[in-house]
Amino acid sequence: MSKSKSSHIKVSQSCISERASTLPPSGIRKFFDLLSSIEGVISLGIGEPDFVTPWHICEAAIYSLEKGYTMYTSNKGTPELRAELARHLESRFSLTYDPDDEILITVGVSEGLDLAMRAILNPGDEVIMPDPCYVAYPASVSLSGGTPVLVPTTEEDNFEITADDIELRITRKTKAILIGYPCNPTGAVLSKEEPTQIAELAKRHNLLVISDEVYGRLVYGTEHTCLATLPGMRERTILLNGFSKAYAMTGWRIGYAAGNEEIIGAMTKIHQYTMLCASTMGQMAALEALKADDSEVDAMVRDYDRRRRVMVKGFRDIGLSCFEPKGAFYAFPSIKITGMTSEEFAEKLLMEEKVAVVPGSAFGQCGEGYIRCCYATSLPEIEEALKRMGKFIKRHRKT
């Protein structure tokens, strides 16, 4: 994979656009390079399920290849998948979307996010989002010429963004609120009242809401509220979701966007020039995933829940304060008792104990002092990682 130094073509700085060169490098990437050089590492730094895609889904994709479904699909995605998605949203959330004009199949939520930003932002428009948040949120706004406006969230407030904090940051340029709950990296979910407050605020200030709900199926002991279901929100919400997390289909790259015809139309226009369509095989697999009953997904959720409890208790037992994550598959313990920055902590932990975690600062300033640990990892690995981290904390604890 790695090229020899001499084969690199020297590109002068000026060849690269200002937009690309000012984009900060992903904090995760840097860590990845360091990690690849060490053996015997237990990684809690992974952002995807440890289940392989259920076999009936893979089998459907294989069958579609055998039947010769190897061509482009409609830009919007196959009619069958959009129709099935419309049925799914109707039965799960009582949300009605026209599969012809209000649903677009995207290459993962990542593409949906990019399209949404490109479709709605003019230069200088502001998008409000929580800090810490998924690494692509601020970048997607910047890449579309907008300005990300970060709202600090704290452990004390369960890393939940509040309508009051959002309102403080609304200006004439504010175009939208971008939220993703359950949250990567914190595992936070929105409480019962908050979505209603955010919805009221959005209506009052005529803002759009982009809601990334890709972890919506992975909640524990609580219910996920789909933002678009709140009164008056369907029209102003761009609902982004996908198959990666719930169905363990990260590598298939299939997501979707649902929203009003005007916005989905604009997103589709960009999508047809930049992506043409999502992979046909992946769409066939996604259709099968939706058609099946929920038993396999439910079993995965119960399995994550058991490991979640082990990890959270484990952190508390070794002296780290850990907010209780109620969604996704991440725990976000505080490492402040070591006095280290998250990056120092992650690097030292990797070198001394061979456990990889992601520094919270990779997800924003408010992630400083925390680390993201994924519990979509086998139980013996979680237990071994906790043991090693326990030794590490004992050595480096300051308070």
């Binding site: 992903s26 995760i28 860590f31 990845f32 990690l35 690849s36 590492v41 990684s43 730094g45 992974i46 952002g47 995807e48 440890d50 392989v52 998924y134 690494v135 692509a136 990567n184 119960r302 829940d305 058991r306 490991r307 409890r309 082990v310 208790k313 990889a356 992601v358 139980l379």
Partner: protein, 159 residues
């Protein structure tokens, strides 16, 4: 409660303390639930799934289809009991279709299995006939795949 038994079914060596952590159910309640399940024979036994060939042990398995004459008042149960009391009969099922009992017979050699079928099983009065299929290779047992499987191909760090 289902969570307790799901955890145990995945790994029977899990302690009540571990299960308590995983499910949020207090340790005492976990112990009570397991004890009751054992008493009710909802939990029959704790076992390991072993690939004997990897340990250098030979084992011969055969699936024997048994056609029987059901008996007045007791139907298939009496003959099934006659069969399952033999330790060689590892599993016994009543099946629909062209035969009645499906019997999984285990032995050290083919000879041993053959002798059991011909001298113990076939001569039973209610047994009309048997068809013996020797198992050539095990791919999957109780949800576990024998070869391969398991390996997860994930990058060590992803966003």
């Amino acid at each position: 409660m289902k969570q307790i038994f799901e955890a145990l079914e995945k790994d029977a060596r899990m302690t009540p303390e571990q299960i308590s952590t995983m499910t949020g159910v207090p340790v005492a309640d976990v112990k009570k639930a397991i004890k009751k399940a054992e008493q009710d024979r909802a939990i029959l036994r704790y076992k390991a799934i072993i690939d004997w060939t990897k340990l250098g042990e030979e084992e011969v398995l055969a699936l024997v289809e048994v056609k029987v004459v059901p008996q007045r008042n007791v139907g298939f149960d009496a003959i099934a009991e006659r069969v399952y009391r033999f330790p060689q009969a590892r599993s016994v099922y009543l099946a629909s279709g062209t035969y009645d009992l499906a019997v999984l017979v285990a032995g050290k050699t083919m000879q041993e299995v053959a002798v059991f079928v011909s001298e113990k099983l076939a001569p039973l009065e209610a047994v009309q006939g048997t068809v013996t299929h020797f198992i050539l290779k095990k791919y999957k047992e109780d949800g576990e795949v024998f070869d391969g499987g398991g390996e997860i191909k994930r990058l060590p760090v992803t966003p």
